[in-house]
Amino acid sequence: MEQAQKRGLARLMLRWPDRRAALREKYGQDIRLAELCEAYEAAWEAAAYWAKSPSVVGRERAEEYNALASATEQDILERIS
């Protein structure tokens, strides 16, 4: 669980280099932010899973999770701003 939070945080730091300091600082203070990082990582992992899935709904699911990752990014931006 904590590993998924850290992976999500690392992914966000790569995504927003100019917000690394804010992310690092708030991550240690805000349990909800840590949970959102985990959710963000889960959304990307699910998007990757469904993008490779032979299921008829694979593409639709991958798009849904990409959109969910973007929405979670917005939640995180609000949380650290």
Binding site: E2, Q5, K6, R24, Y27, G28, Q29, D30, I31, R32, A34, E35, L36, E38, A39, A42, A43, A46, Y49, W50, R61, E64, Y65, L68, A71, T72, D75, E78, R79
Partner: protein, 272 residues
């Protein structure tokens, strides 16, 4: 913070919860997607309808997110992700625009079943802080032991304040499980609850204080607790541990210390 909600004692009625839900989802300050509004409404309605056992990732996936009966939450974690976003939105709302809301709807981590409680320090149904008033009455009757947790960590230091809050959060469920009425001395801005707790202090019933603190000591953080009988000031148990400070608080170590503290307190009370 949603963790400051007290859920002991009388809960809001189903009608009051539904009114609170309506006001919440109608609020422009509560920023969630339409399907997360349906998610919240679904779990609240199932719970007040006595069907909380139906609240599982599978049923939410099918009934709220339109998945078919082949839905597998392990590869399709939509419910888990949206629940996290919903908890964050609830937390942000009650910390901001909804800080004056009397009824708090929370979805504890690890579950999708919501809990309903009165906001600590705000007037209850009849204008009083009913939880605390009720506790005072029970303690005066001598039928229950109450523990008042007072976090002495430096609130001006966000890092130790966070750790103190985590320590309090870890202690609360353990003390409640040990059947103590548990109260937390609120922050200074919540003076209504402070008044009620002071009333508790003034009564000679079976009331104990649990003073905790997290203090910085160079690269370490000292977590300490002290359990006292408020009737005579006697310190019945105390302990501390020093943990090396890391960027992320050491949740397992805090939980472990809280468990040890709760066990020690239960043992002291049993032999007292």
């Amino acid at each position: 913070m949603d963790g400051k909600v007290l859920t002991e004692g009388e809960e809001p009625s189903p009608g009051e919860v539904l009114s609170a839900l309506e006001a919440l989802v109608a609020s422009g300050s509560f920023r969630i997607s339409e399907r997360n509004r349906r998610f919240l409404s679904f779990v609240v309605n199932q719970t007040i309808g006595g069907r909380s056992d139906r609240i599982k990732a599978y049923s939410i996936g099918v009934d709220v997110f339109g998945r078919d009966d082949s839905f597998d939450p392990t590869v399709d974690p939509i419910v888990r992700i949206e629940a996290t976003r919903l908890r964050s939105a609830l937390n942000a709302y009650y910390d901001g625009a909804g800080s004056g809301d009397r009824i708090r709807i929370t979805i504890p981590r690890g579950s999708y079943v919501p809990t309903f409680g009165w906001a600590a320090g705000l007037p209850g149904r009849d204008g009083r802080d009913c939880l605390l008033e009720g506790m005072v009455a029970e303690i005066v009757d001598g039928t229950l032991a109450a523990v008042v947790i007072h976090d002495h960590s430096d609130q001006a230091d966000p890092e130790v304040a966070l750790r103190g809050e985590l320590f309090t959060d870890a202690l609360l469920p353990l003390l409640r499980k040990a059947r103590f009425k548990t109260l937390v001395v609120p922050s200074v801005e919540r003076s209504a609850a402070t008044g009620s707790i002071n009333a508790l202090f003034a009564h000679p019933g079976e009331t104990y204080s649990l003073d905790i603190a997290v203090r910085p000591l160079a690269e370490r953080r000292r977590y300490s607790w002290r359990f006292s009988d408020l009737r005579n000031g006697e310190v019945l148990a105390s302990d501390f541990r020093d943990f090396v400070a890391k960027a992320t608080p050491c949740f397992e170590l805090i939980d472990d210390l809280a468990e040890t503290a709760a066990q020690s307190i239960s043992a002291v009370i049993a032999s007292h």
